[in-house]
């Protein structure tokens, strides 16, 4: 009904009213939600508060021709929940700051908000505050997420030691492959790429990443890892960051990395596939460092029916070199993804 009307026509107050209409009953943790100068939350007891912020910008992180408004909203929340999961934190609340081109349709606005609410609701997270403004250029969706984690159960990047094994969830390069497939489908005139199961799965992982919320919390709660990071800027970057923060080197075994099947389909050359899968961003998997004495504990916690696959891909090493071992030779690990090119 509203698809012909733009957000510029209905204005800020009506847009905020539409968001408020979607908010469910307040949780115990929310003393005062959207609608005042600030929200009032009951802070965690005997826990630290984990806070993070991340934004999706049109033309940088997404293209509206490839990703619908619902998926953009859901993903903006997902990338923040992924950051909390990488700390072992339980997500509690999000704030949403929207910059809207005035020509955006109210239908797209409603879909975006529905995506935000779906992803937040999936993990019991309350939308407690926000802001709606005009953007003269790109649509942007900025989210801040708050969560709780027990002080001794937080997973930082810095706790790894030489000899710790590196484990990654899911499949590497799925989102990057999905994006390539999506672009090919659009430029070839929209012939559906989803007849191929691996391709369809890769596209779904690009469009609708599901953060590893439960796994991050479980591993943290059981103190089953020494360090953790999410792979939002690619697996190579995640390995580099966890090693750098831990003051170690790292060695990845190329043959152990769980490439997504669409990666091999896109880049039949092994070297290109490795580069694509290691450097491709947007997977939102978790990378854990696990000390030798905790490997059985980690396996019992992390490997669960219905959970993502968890694969050992290498280890942290003495020194500072970050290498990938391929065909019995060590090479420098390719760099991660950066949105500044």
């Amino acid at each position: 009904v509203s698809c012909g009307i733009t957000v510029g026509e209905v204005g800020e107050r009506e847009l905020i009213a539409r968001i408020r209409a979607r908010i469910g009953p307040a949780s115990d943790r929310v003393r005062l939600g959207i609608g005042d100068d600030a929200a009032l939350l009951v802070p965690p007891k005997r826990a630290l508060e984990a806070v993070t912020t991340d934004v999706l910008v049109e033309g940088v992180h997404f293209d509206r021709a490839l990703t619908g408004a619902y998926d953009i909203g859901a993903k903006a929340v997902a990338v923040n929940l992924s950051d909390l999961a990488a700390m072992g934190a339980t997500p509690r609340a999000v704030l949403l700051s929207l910059g809207l081109p005035p020509a955006l349709s109210t239908g797209d606005f409603d879909a975006l908000v529905a995506g935000v609410m779906e992803m937040a609701g999936r993990y019991g997270v309350a939308l407690v505050g926000g802001n709606v403004t005009r953007s003269p250029g790109a649509l942007f969706v900025d989210v801040t997420a708050l969560g709780d984690v027990h002080p001794r159960k937080a997973l930082t990047r810095a706790g790894g030691r030489p000899g710790d094994a590196l484990y990654v969830t899911g499949c590497a390069g799925a989102a990057a492959a999905g994006l390539v497939c999506l672009r090919q489908a659009v430029s070839s005139g929209g012939s559906s790429p989803e007849t191929d199961g691996a391709v369809a799965d890769a596209i779904a992982r690009y469009r609708r990443p599901d953060p590893r919320v439960r796994l991050g919390i479980l591993v943290g709660r059981n103190r089953a890892a020494s360090a953790c990071i999410d792979s939002s800027d690619g697996l190579a970057d995640a390995v580099r960051q966890i090693a750098c923060a831990s003051g170690t080197g790292a060695r990845i075994d190329a043959s152990a990395v769980p490439w997504h099947p669409a990666v091999a389909r896109l880049w039949p050359s092994g070297i290109e596939a490795v580069e694509g899968a290691l450097s491709g961003s947007d997977d939102y998997e978790l990378l854990f460092a696990v000390p030798p004495r905790k490997r059985r504990l980690f396996a019992s916690v992390a490997v669960r029916p219905g959970g993502p696959p968890v694969t050992r891909i290498g280890m942290l090493t003495e020194g500072r070199d970050i290498v990938i071992r391929r065909d019995d030779r060590d090479a420098a690990l390719p760099a991660g993804y950066t949105h500044f090119g």
Copy 2:
């Protein structure tokens, strides 16, 4: 030295390193600051947590020809601290999400961050997290602020009752008048407008708003008001919002409103001046509702040497009408400012 280099040339990691280099020693409240997947904060004890988010977007909230990068950074923090002050909350931490046009100079980037740090440091607030990304269009500076407030001392918008007096800090319309003067100066080829003291003051209030942090905390702590809001969208909007949330009407006395002197200079007609001052945004003053039995307490708390002037401008009323009394006649209060025009 760096003024010829753009942020697009130096890249995300270098920009984050520049921010980290400016961060002082961690406070007791910050267990883990910038550099991991999320920051870890010690939550408040025996207090609620107040959280708010607000963004400044180029071409909507500021024009780089009129406002320098340092002032943009400082203001992005100030507008959020103003929201916390309006809850009576003590600010503790901010997160900063920057969307940067690649052509922005590193000199402007450094100045923007310096402005953020100055405003945060002025009120003892730690920068605990953030995000730097490219923006294909407008520069945007998105801030989330966290603060503490005792549950019974929080100032919401909704606590007002008919008969409560309305008090406002500072001068109304200062920022709106300052912006008009700035634009006139630029369009007339840059003849300095600051020879006139009132005009110079109005411009300073537009460029460098100073949130009423201490006054908001003091009034909340002493429970000296029944409701509070900041006037970021104009005084008329603030009156309307506080009355609407409190379920009351309101009557403002035009002759009591403390117009900034530059307002009268710009708009010699009284009616235009009233409209400009009431509807003009960006003042970041506080509007309080004060019950009759608390007026002496409020006066003793709010009127302090070195503090802003505090002026009684009207009252909350029975019913729902929002009126301004001028020349012994009631008229509807003009609408507030909206960035969706």
